[in-house]
């Protein structure tokens, strides 16, 4: 299980956009680099990330080697009722991570 952080405002206004911020701890090794002995460092990247709000998928991302280490994503969503934001991701070695946060619609 990988370490990540999710930030959602605890209370949002109905129908108004709010910001969702995600930070994932990951080396995002491109596979193009070599170590000090000249050996190729195998690719190791988070390649899939999904965000659901109240069970409904609102964002699906395919990340590539161009994304910096410890990927940081910020995007907006709207909601009409209180619920949970859920972000799940997996890397090319099959490791997964998941973070959730609750919010209430005021």
């Amino acid at each position: 299980m990988m370490l990540g952080k999710l930030q959602v405002p605890p209370s949002v206004k109905k129908g108004e956009p709010f910001e969702i911020r995600v930070l994932v701890q990951h080396p995002m090794e491109t596979g193009y680099r070599r170590d000090l002995n000249g050996m190729s460092i195998p690719m190791h990247i988070v390649d899939k990330l999904v965000c659901r709000v109240g069970g409904r998928e609102i964002l699906r991302a395919e990340l590539g080697t161009g994304i910096a280490a410890n990927p940081y994503l910020a995007f907006y969503a709207t909601a009409s009722e209180s619920g949970e934001v859920e972000v799940e991701w997996s890397d090319n070695r099959g490791d997964t991570g998941r973070v959730t946060a609750r919010f209430t619609v005021a």
């Binding site: 370490l3 952080k5 930030q7 911020r21 930070l23 701890q25 080396p27 995002m28 910096a68 280490a69 410890n70 940081y72």
Partner: protein
């Protein structure tokens, strides 16, 4: 005649004891970064270094080694017990010599927990040292090097000071050529900092990861094309001792974010 010499010596002694002028005003390294990097450092969500703090917090209460003790078994709540640790290292330990924060943690893991050593720059060690350093956020650096003449710490300090002013590498530069004489000026796309240790360990975007102050010092050695001292070597610790004294009173804000 003898009395005269003694008076001369007394008059001269303070001059020798006087420390080299420190940069004024004392400015933390974050001030020399781009607005984006600075914003990242002080945003508790966006600062990637806090991922290491979180991991360190978990490791803090995780039992380790033959004794099956965690850091918390002896040190309790780090928020209390480690409040000033980062501000007071490197420091002298009677049985261990002069150690910086990472060195102290390594010693504790091996000797007190009886666990396998944590290698320099390993993720576990960095997580623990960043977690401990974070507890000292807002504290001011209180070096003890100057107050203990003739001790091992003093010797380390003198060594660090000598290294700081010694020209090295193919570029033939000493630390002070940049960090005392030219701080605030532009070097390629960078602004030269005053070279303070207050925000370390820090997340360096160039490294794409978090690293210790020792790693950063080695990067400076690399920059002037000098031979890199190994991690944990007395030279690097001595430089850390000198830098702490030089940055006396500076507010700590680890983990930093650097380009």
């Amino acid at each position: 005649m003898k009395l005269g010499a003694a008076i001369v010596l007394l008059a001269v002694a303070p001059v020798f004891a006087q420390e080299p002028a420190r940069p004024a005003p004392l400015t933390p390294g974050s001030e020399f970064q781009s607005p984006e990097a600075r914003q990242m450092q002080f945003d508790d969500f966006a600062n990637p270094g806090l991922l290491w703090v979180e991991r360190g917090e978990k490791l803090w209460s995780q039992p380790r080694g033959e004794t099956n003790k965690s850091c918390a078994s002896c040190h309790g709540d780090a928020r209390q017990s480690m409040k000033t640790a980062a501000a007071r290292h490197p420091r002298y330990y009677e049985k261990l010599g002069v150690l910086d924060l990472e060195g102290r943690i390594k010693a504790c893991v091996v000797q007190n927990q009886k666990a396998p050593d944590l290698p320099w720059e390993s993720q576990d060690l960095l997580s623990l040292s960043t977690y401990v350093a974070r507890q000292a956020k807002g504290q001011h650096i209180v070096p003890s090097a100057g107050s203990q003449p003739a001790s091992a710490l003093r010797a380390s300090y003198e060594r660090g000071r000598r290294l700081y002013f010694e020209r090295q590498g193919q570029l033939n530069l000493a630390c002070n050529n940049c960090h005392d004489a030219n701080w605030g000026k532009t070097l390629l796309a960078e602004r030269i900092s005053q070279g303070h240790p207050g925000d370390w360990p820090a997340y360096r975007i160039e490294w794409q990861t978090l690293g210790s102050l020792q790693r950063r010092l080695r990067a400076c050695y690399f920059g002037v094309r000098a031979e890199l001292p190994p991690l944990g070597s007395p030279d690097l610790v001595a430089l850390e001792v000198y830098l702490a004294e030089r940055a006396k009173g500076l507010e700590l804000s680890p983990p930093g974010v650097r380009r």
